[in-house]
Symmetry: C2
Subunit: 350 residues, 2 copies
Amino acid sequence: MSTITVLGAGAMGTALCKPFVDAGWQVHLWGTWLDDHLLDAIEAGQPHPRIKVAAAPGITTFRSGRLAEALAGADVVDIAVTSEGLPKVTEMALDHIGDIGDLRALCLTAKGFWTDPEGKIRLLPEAIRAIAARKGVSLPPLVAIGGPVKANECAAGEVTATTYASTDLAVAEALAREAATETYGIRPSDDETGVELCAALKNVYAIALGIADGLGEATGVPRHNLKAASFAQAVREMSLLVARAGGHAETPYGLAGVGDLEVTGLSGRNKLYGVRLGKGEGPDEALAEMNRLEQTVEGYPAAPLAVAFAHQFGAGEEELPLLHTVATILKGGVEDVYGAVAAAVKPVRP
Amino acid sequence: MSTITVLGAGAMGTALCKPFVDAGWQVHLWGTWLDDHLLDAIEAGQPHPRIKVAAAPGITTFRSGRLAEALAGADVVDIAVTSEGLPKVTEMALDHIGDIGDLRALCLTAKGFWTDPEGKIRLLPEAIRAIAARKGVSLPPLVAIGGPVKANECAAGEVTATTYASTDLAVAEALAREAATETYGIRPSDDETGVELCAALKNVYAIALGIADGLGEATGVPRHNLKAASFAQAVREMSLLVARAGGHAETPYGLAGVGDLEVTGLSGRNKLYGVRLGKGEGPDEALAEMNRLEQTVEGYPAAPLAVAFAHQFGAGEEELPLLHTVATILKGGVEDVYGAVAAAVKPVRP
């Protein structure tokens, strides 16, 4: 029996336990120093406080002080903390990685950007590689897990399709074969950069989709044409930027792109934040209200990072008008949100 | 001043008048023998009965008996009738096309499949070409108009993005420049086949998106992961089939594909029909109820035609599992709708 250790007992970490249990793996779920109340609920068999679904039965939980035990004997490790928490948890995990005899893969459900010590914006696998290089630890193959996965549905065993991407395709393929279940389908990919970048960008573009919904709600007249045009423009820009950053232009056309954008535009906090903007709230006012409701809007900090990331690859406003428009709206620099988004998604300007 | 004659005073024909009026064109709107009540409302300045929005002011209307007058002096003609009505209206229009000195383009907002006299399933531009060849009429360049356009929003002047595709790209580009407005953006394309096929297929795939929504409504637990996986699978299958049929594999990744699928999955009759199936109604029962509400479900007759069309190009169930699953569901051959769609969208079967 293979063992996976999931680092981080938040929504996505807990959700990922379910298919692995179903696929016959032994599952260790380690909680960070911020996750004690989550583990309390899990260990009591109560619904996970964030996703309102009980964790898969049969998993073994570990409190933050028991990281070495949690990692002992792991065949696969998954890092499932926030992008902010990733560097520290990676540091901690790498202290033990050398002790694990034959770790087959280090997976990553954490998503976002990382600012390296020189101030350059990087994707999270680069953070892990930089930290490992600094510590002199040799890493197993990395596997980026992306695609359209709402944690509560995955945790409940509802049908879910996802992407496992590794620069070593055979690793992704093997893991996909061993982790897939009747309800958890996995498409292997060799495009780590594309999958990671789609995941980081989609939260920003979901704000644009929410704006279209909010404009419709505010007026009683749906803005479905605008939402559809924004969706297509988002996919177009993601493809352009992924290709520029060294990934495959086609990756955003699959589960990691259109699939994830679809699920993020249906619900989720970034879309809800966009709805507020579309209804006329200011960006800071809307953010304060979301924070008051304890809803993190990942797309808000990600927008300027995505703009900076794109600039590193020579892609500016001309090529990525929707990304830039969202970033400008979030800075409070736009009076007419409808007009700004409309201009950004227009295929040919008259 | 250029003149466009729109043939068919239904939702899409009437909607198309709006951007052309705004762009400074003279617009003739001809109603078929079934459209008198629609023209009554338009001429009285009342909302169009189907889209609840008034037609653009300044258009000139023509009853079915005045086709020659409607076409006289046209620079561009658009056929905006149903796919069933297309052969007859094309016949009638081609009787006058020779009299129009310099018709620049014959556009097509009608969408669907056509069964040729040998029983082969074809796209609508092929129907027009076959009819013209039989009549010995030489055609101007055809322009397929597709992409995410809800008629009521377009007619109201809300932001809309669309695609104009012609095998002669310069024709599509010129028309796009002359018809685009502040709120009506046009992306030119040379992929007539891709744009037409996406438009015909998306009604079938929208049923699958509706099924996911209906499953969620029936249980109170959203099936967003399933909807997203279905969306990505639909795009994948459209790309495969478009390429096989001689179009560009990339066309479904743009406005005509992901854009149109997004808008069709947000609302529309095909999606609503799918919701009924997801909630447990049988396909015939649900169709009868839609018909009672005077809501045509284009995806219902289109599904077996799409399957037959794909077979002509050697694409079967193995390559197009979601298309085949929807077609089988519509034939009443599926007990477990959730399981069937889930199996069809699963990237790797365990």
